[in-house]
């Protein structure tokens, strides 16, 4: 690692930032930088004790073109971990590895190992169906099925046979909607189409739908990028509440959002995991030059 990477212009760039970064501490930050812009080795400790998911040297190729380079990262229990980085940095691709959603993309190959509670999810014996029930996913654009609100929630439990009777299913739907904070808004219109709801409600419906199959990990791929600030605040509150029961991995382009909702933050760059650490430390005292450039508003 190269500690002598300080250049005059980084002082200027660091000085521009006012929101996330205390301008008075520029010199201390600069001393904290431990990696140069050319060095993609992960800075910070990507490992935690008794992780829920363990990723080791995960690389992803799209028809021979490498998109993710040897990422090792643990996902702890009951934590929200944010993944940030410029567009095309591989954070969404990496996220989609965690529940094997990349299987549906032709020409995509994943190497390395990812385990969920000690089970290798890329083992040939593993069936993706129960895996995806355990690792749920919420997408960038709300994508409710063109069915009723009730059927949107009941869809997962039905295909996995989670509810034995109609009353059990009713209870499960109500419970999921309550956990997603949507119950009071939709309890009288469960038979209305899910597409009728507002964007923010649709996204919470999609979260409720994911919760309904009782996952252990919830992956969120820019869940608020299509929502207005009020709906975003509501979803962020929900993420905070969900942390009690689930591990949440969230990809976001909003650094404020990452700072608000997450306990740990991982910064991706050009397919490499460049830095990972406590969210407070990443945003106040980044140790990698690229991380600092990114969070201070300059693309690295």
């Amino acid at each position: 690692m190269n500690t002598a990477c300080y250049t005059p212009e980084s002082t200027i760039i660091a000085g521009v930032n006012v929101h996330l970064h205390d301008t008075g501490d520029v010199n201390e930050d600069v001393k904290g930088l431990v990696s140069s812009a050319e060095d993609y080795t992960t800075v910070g400790n990507p490992f935690v004790e008794s992780p829920r998911m363990k990723c080791r040297e995960v690389s992803v190729d799209y028809s021979g073109k490498r998109a993710v380079f040897g990422v090792s990262l643990d996902i702890a229990r009951n934590e929200v971990i944010a993944m940030i980085g410029p567009s095309g940095c591989g954070k969404s691709t990496f996220l989609r590895c965690l529940n094997r959603m990349n299987d549906t993309i032709p020409g995509c190959t994943v190497s390395g190992s990812i385990t969920l509670d000690g089970m290798d999810i890329y083992d040939r014996k593993v069936d993706v169906v129960p895996l995806r029930a355990m690792v749920g996913m919420v997408f960038q654009k709300p994508n409710p099925f063109p069915k009723s609100i009730y059927d949107n929630i009941a869809y997962g439990p039905r295909i996995h046979g989670l509810a034995g009777s109609r009353s059990e299913l009713d209870a499960l739907v109500e419970d999921s909607l309550r956990k997603a904070g949507l119950w009071d808004e939709v309890k009288d219109q469960l038979d209305k189409p899910g597409t009728m709801l507002s964007g923010g409600q649709q996204q919470r419906l999609c979260i409720a739908r994911t919760i309904a199959v009782s996952p252990e990990v919830i992956l969120m791929d820019e869940p608020c990028s299509a929502l207005d600030p009020i709906a975003t605040a509501r979803v962020e509150e929900l993420i905070e509440e969900l942390r009690d029961n689930y591990s949440i991995v969230i990809v976001t382009h909003s650094m404020q959002q990452a700072a608000r909702v997450s306990q740990r933050t991982a910064y991706f760059h050009m397919g490499w995991l460049v830095e990972v650490g406590e969210t407070d430390q990443i945003f106040t005292n980044p140790r990698h030059k690229l991380t600092e450039n990114y969070i201070t508003g300059r693309f690295g």
């Binding site: 993706v128 099925f145 063109p146 869809y155 997962g156 295909i159 597409t195 739908r209 994911t210 199959v213």
Partner: protein, 415 residues
């Protein structure tokens, strides 16, 4: 002066007007704002002034043509006016005069671009109107002829009569049947054959669409889809003799093995071949709506742990269903209107039967047989064709309206 010459003259006049107007406007633009002639800058670019002047060559000619047509067709005008030469001279002279006036009156303030846009507006409107009025004309002529038919044969007899035998004596002394014009057997035949065709086309077309859009690899899809669509390009006559010469004998032979009485021309043979013919219509329309279901919908389902089959069954097909139903209804309209296959393979005899092994006839086939050969135009036999045509038109129109409604509803779903 022939109409070709008139056309060329007007076109030349328009060209001349275009260049004259454009040149004048260009001069005005170049001289505007300079010290020698402090004129205003023209409102539009010179091209629009060119079009504006040439428009004045075309409009008088068109007006004169319309007047001539209307007066000659419907009006009573003095003989001297009817002579063709006078009209064409009027058209050309008025064109020349209008072009000169327009050219002289060309001012920088003339809002040429706005005038041209209005003119284009009228042009597009005229094109749309032609299509609408043609449809209207066809419908009206069918309706009027049908009214004449219904003066001879009561409507209720036509709609509810159970016997169709349109042979009538031409001369009073001729020995012949008196004719029976009950449309029920013909309609029943139409629906029977359409039903058989849809029973073949709906499952085959839908399943091939699901296979092509969801399961087939891109390379297979690239050649399989065009191959399937070639079926749509085969002329119906070819399907017709395929049905009559290949399928009908096979159906007959197969029926005999099972101990069934099959006539050599059967509804089954015609329906089967018609079904094959409609497959590409169903499959390509369904394929389009299935492909239009957003990938996000499938991802959402996969992310909940659904398999591909569950996703298709529970998410993709329900989302595409309105579009698929719309496509099926369009296919039914096509089946109801199909003629050639039925003429060749299902026969001409109007049996009122639901037995697909017997010969039946359809509305379209009856229209063809009623109107081919030497006919007396005011006999009920000939007029019956118009009544059948009207009936068919109303039926397919209703189906198309329903289909379009459903398709439109589907379109709104993902906005």
């Amino acid at each position: 002066m022939t109409s070709t010459q008139l056309f060329i003259t007007v076109a030349l006049l328009a060209c001349a007007g275009f260049f004259l107007g454009k040149k004048r406007a260009a001069i005005m633009r170049d001289s505007s704002g300079s010290h020698s002639s402090p004129g205003i800058r023209p409102h539009s670019t010179p091209v629009y002034y060119g079009f504006w002047v040439s428009l004045w060559a075309v409009i008088p000619a068109l007006l004169v043509f319309v007047c001539e047509f209307v007066l000659k067709r419907f009006g009573h005008v003095p003989f001297s006016f009817r002579a063709g030469v006078a009209w064409e001279a009027v058209a050309v002279t008025s064109g020349i005069v209008c072009v000169i006036i327009a050219w002289l009156r060309l001012r920088p303030e003339t809002r040429a671009r706005n005038h041209i846009e209005t003119g284009m507006n009228f042009l597009f409107m005229a094109c749309a109107t032609i299509a609408i009025f043609t449809t209207l004309g066809i419908v009206l002529s069918v309706i009027f002829e049908s009214i004449r038919f219904f003066k001879v044969i009561p409507v209720q007899e036509f709609l509810f009569g159970l016997k169709w035998s349109p042979q009538v004596a031409i001369r009073p002394d001729q020995v012949g049947s008196t004719g029976a014009f009950g449309s029920v057997p013909v309609l029943a035949g139409t629906f029977l054959i359409s039903f058989i065709a849809m029973a073949v086309a709906a499952p085959l077309g839908l399943m091939s669409a699901i296979y092509l859009s969801e399961y087939a690899g891109s390379r297979l899809r690239a050649w399989a889809k065009p191959c399937l669509e070639i079926l749509a390009g085969i002329p119906t006559v070819v399907y017709g003799f395929f049905a009559a010469l290949v399928v009908a004998p096979q159906v007959k032979a197969a029926g005999e093995i099972l101990g069934l009485q099959v006539s050599s021309e059967s509804a089954l043979a015609a329906g089967l071949v018609m079904g094959i013919m409609i497959i590409p219509l169903v499959s390509s329309l369904s394929d389009d709506v299935i492909s239009a279901v957003p990938q996000a919908m499938r991802d959402g389902s996969y992310a909940l742990g659904a398999t591909k089959a569950e996703t298709i069954k529970n998410v993709v097909i329900p989302a595409a269903l309105p579009g698929i139903v719309g496509g099926l209804l369009l296919a039914v309209s096509r089946a109801v209107g199909e003629t050639m296959i039925v003429v060749m393979a299902a026969g001409l005899s109007a049996n009122l039967t639901m037995n697909p092994l017997k010969a039946v006839t359809t509305v379209t086939v009856q229209i063809v047989t009623l109107l081919t050969g030497d006919q007396e135009f005011d006999s009920p036999k000939t007029l019956a064709a118009f009544a059948l045509g009207l009936l068919l038109f109303i039926l397919t129109l209703l189906m198309n309206i329903i289909a379009l409604k459903i398709v439109r509803k589907y379109r709104e779903q993902y906005e």
